[in-house]
């Protein structure tokens, strides 16, 4: 072993890991008690000027988890992980690749568990017989004739020694993904009225405009309710346009976003307007007109000269579920009727027959996220679970069988083995093997 540089040893130590994890867990508590990401005057109102200043100077507010000191702690954890792994991996690799047929007899004799018995025959013949018998029960054995006798060796799960390192690397992968996301991605939002489109979203917090590089249009938004009045779904029909042409369409709901060119649109909120979209179709000549009209104002449809208005509405809060429509074709008394939001009805007038539909106008609130690091984060998560399963539930098991010539035509045998984890389980496996190995 070469002499270790003290700085290297410091960063390679598990003590430092325990210390960093402990400090990370205790300081994390602060940001769960002091609400994060509020405006500075909010903190002054809540905690007073003096405390608010102290919090701000310690970076407890407004965003402790991205402060310099907290990210430094995470960086320290990463350096610790990297140095610790580099420090140990060569040794682990030597153990995986070790020439186990060169293990000296003295070491074999000092191992537990052990099993000894005797067989008649020639050393290397017995060796081949036992190797075949071990092979038949799933332990592929190698054999070497040495000066002091014949040694058989079989192992399982040598590579499982790497499980812990997969877990540790996965943490680095996740944090790398998070860093990429924070540097190259953004979180923004859009309030998009139905039928309109935009190329620009506004980042959260600073409200800086970001250009999406294409247009997103909200064709349609609707809310469904359960019978008890709770909202069941918020759905926006979105279209993506490039150079004025629709390239893709999707109806998004919460938990099912639309992704285009690495930018994902999430359904996050909505805003009802006091405008209504009406469509009137003359069923006699097929002429149809759609118009957006304000609440409680009579409107004349430009092509047909028909007049229509929403005179009252009923619903929850700002969302109308049914509207009272006033409608006339200037031929007799105006028609007055109730119509459910988004539905249509047929209106019989003296000469003509019309289909009228009405819908309240909404703006859909979209969360816009670009996160080029997300795949690394997910790969890291997968690696972590894979590594944890290996680290917790598998072990490197080794079996040696040493055959020594006792007298002419008679050999004494020593079987021994080790496992790096779950020794009790290994003892049982070993016991099992001793029962199945030929003894005479």
């Amino acid at each position: 072993m070469k002499n270790k540089n003290p700085i290297w040893s410091f960063f390679a130590s598990v003590k430092l890991a325990l210390f960093t994890l402990f400090i990370l867990s205790t300081t994390s508590i602060i940001g769960t008690i002091i609400p994060q990401k509020e405006a500075s005057h909010w903190y002054i109102e809540r905690y007073g000027e003096k405390m608010a200043n102290i919090f701000a100077s310690l970076s407890f507010t407004p965003d402790m988890y991205s402060s310099a000191w907290f990210t430094s702690l995470l960086a320290l954890l990463c350096i610790n992980l990297i140095v610790c792994s580099l420090d140990r991996l060569p040794g682990v690799w030597r153990q995986i690749k070790a020439d186990n047929l060169a293990t000296p007899l003295a070491r074999l004799e000092s191992m537990t568990p052990q099993y000894r018995w005797q067989l008649s025959g020639q050393g290397n013949e017995i060796g081949r017989l036992l190797a075949a018998s071990l092979g038949s029960i799933g332990w592929q054995a190698e054999l070497r004739d040495r000066e002091d006798g014949t040694l058989l060796f079989a192992q399982k799960g040598a590579m499982t020694r790497l499980g812990v390192y997969i877990v540790h690397i996965s943490i680095l992968v996740i944090l790398a993904g998070a860093t990429i996301g924070a540097m190259l991605g953004y979180k923004a939002s859009i309030m998009l009225p139905e039928t309109t489109s935009t190329e620009v979203a506004y980042t959260q917090g600073t409200h800086t405009p970001v250009n999406l590089g294409f247009e997103v249009r909200c064709d349609h938004f609707n809310i469904e309710y359960y019978d008890n009045g709770m909202p069941k779904s918020y759905r926006s029909q979105l279209s993506i346009l490039e150079e004025g042409k629709v390239v893709t369409k999707k109806a998004i709901v919460v938990n099912d976003p639309l992704t285009y060119k690495g930018i994902t649109f999430y359904q996050s909120s909505y805003e009802p307007f006091s405008d209504f979209m009406v469509t009137v179709t003359n069923n006699n000549n097929g002429l149809s007109e759609t118009e957006i009209i304000p609440y409680q104002q009579q409107q004349t449809l430009p092509k047909s000269g028909l007049q229509i208005g929403v005179i009252s509405a009923d619903g929850r809060g700002q969302s109308a579920s049914k509207m009272k429509i006033w409608f006339t074709d200037n031929d007799g008394e105006p028609s007055l009727f109730w119509l459910d939001n988004g539905s249509q009805t047929t209106v019989q007038r003296s000469k003509n027959n019309y289909t009228v539909s009405v819908k309240q106008m909404y703006a859909t609130g979209l969360q816009v996220a670009k996160d080029p690091g997300i795949w690394l984060v997910y790969i890291g998560c997968g690696l972590m679970l894979f590594g944890l399963v290996i680290a917790f539930f598998t072990s490197h098991q080794r079996i040696w069988l040493f055959i020594q010539k006792e007298s002419e035509g008679k050999c004494s045998l020593l079987m021994t083995g080790t496992a790096n984890k779950n020794k009790a389980g290994f003892a049982k496996t070993f016991q099992h093997l001793t029962e199945r190995i030929p003894k005479a």
Binding site: V14, K15, A17, L18, L21, F22, L24, S25, S28, I29, G31, T32, I33, P35, Q36, Y65, A178, K187, Y226, D227, N228, M230, P231, K232, S233, Y234, V253, V254, N255, D256, P257, T264, Y266, Q267, S268, Q367, V368, A369, D371, I374, V377, Y378, C381, M384, L385, L388, V389, F392, A424
Partner: protein, 284 residues
Amino acid sequence: MDSSQLIGITTFTYLFSTILYAAFFIFKSDRLGSIATIFTAAAFLIQTAGIGLRWLESYQLGIGRAPLTNMYESVVFFAWTIILIYLIIEWKFKTKIIGTFAVPFAFLAMAYASFAKGITKEIVPLIPALQSNWLIAHVVTCFIGYAAFAVAAGLGIMYLIKNTSETRQSTDNSSLLGTLPALQVLDDIIHKTMVFGFLWLSVGIITGAIWANSAWGTYWSWDPKETWSLITWFLYAITLHARYTRGWGGTRIAWLSIFGFISVIFTYYGVNFLLSGLHSYGSS
């Protein structure tokens, strides 16, 4: 018979199981032990039926969703998982006495679900944000983890009691505590239970992150509940490292299993009631 009646019955049967295990612990009668096990297993089946029925009822109401989405349902599932893990340990390690320290947790959880103020037992439909299979995966995996940590903490308490009594007096096998499993055995079961819990908590945090990402576009927002689950995860990571690389064991690990579980409880209840955040759905 509806699901809440079945689940209500379970509360009392777990109380009775607790008493039976306590009686077994005190009188050391093997018959009492077998009765306690049979009784607990029966209560577990009733609870399973109750949870299944609740699922069915939600379909009859036209809502159709797994019974895992509010405080009441998650606490009931938590108790169910504790008993499941306990029964597996009893079967695997052939020791009944642990029931005295594990079953009360299930009873307390059920009592909380049944009697605490402000917990609604109604089957309400899911708001849009909660309509996700990732959410179900998240709740199930987290609670398996939590239940394992509860059992580990129960074993930790058992370890500490036995350890104090052993250092005070010479071990007397006829004494009350003499019937407890040997300290090494306890230490080993505590470790294995924590490892099991750690794995599930990891899956729970990851599925939660995937859910958050599909609902809001952020897999991690340092919301108090997320942060507390990470704190809990760190605590158990510290415990595993201390044991694995520094050779900690016995009393220290027993204490850590208790501290870890306090952190679990805080993540689970404390955050809902004392702090604010995205997960506030749990408080209704």
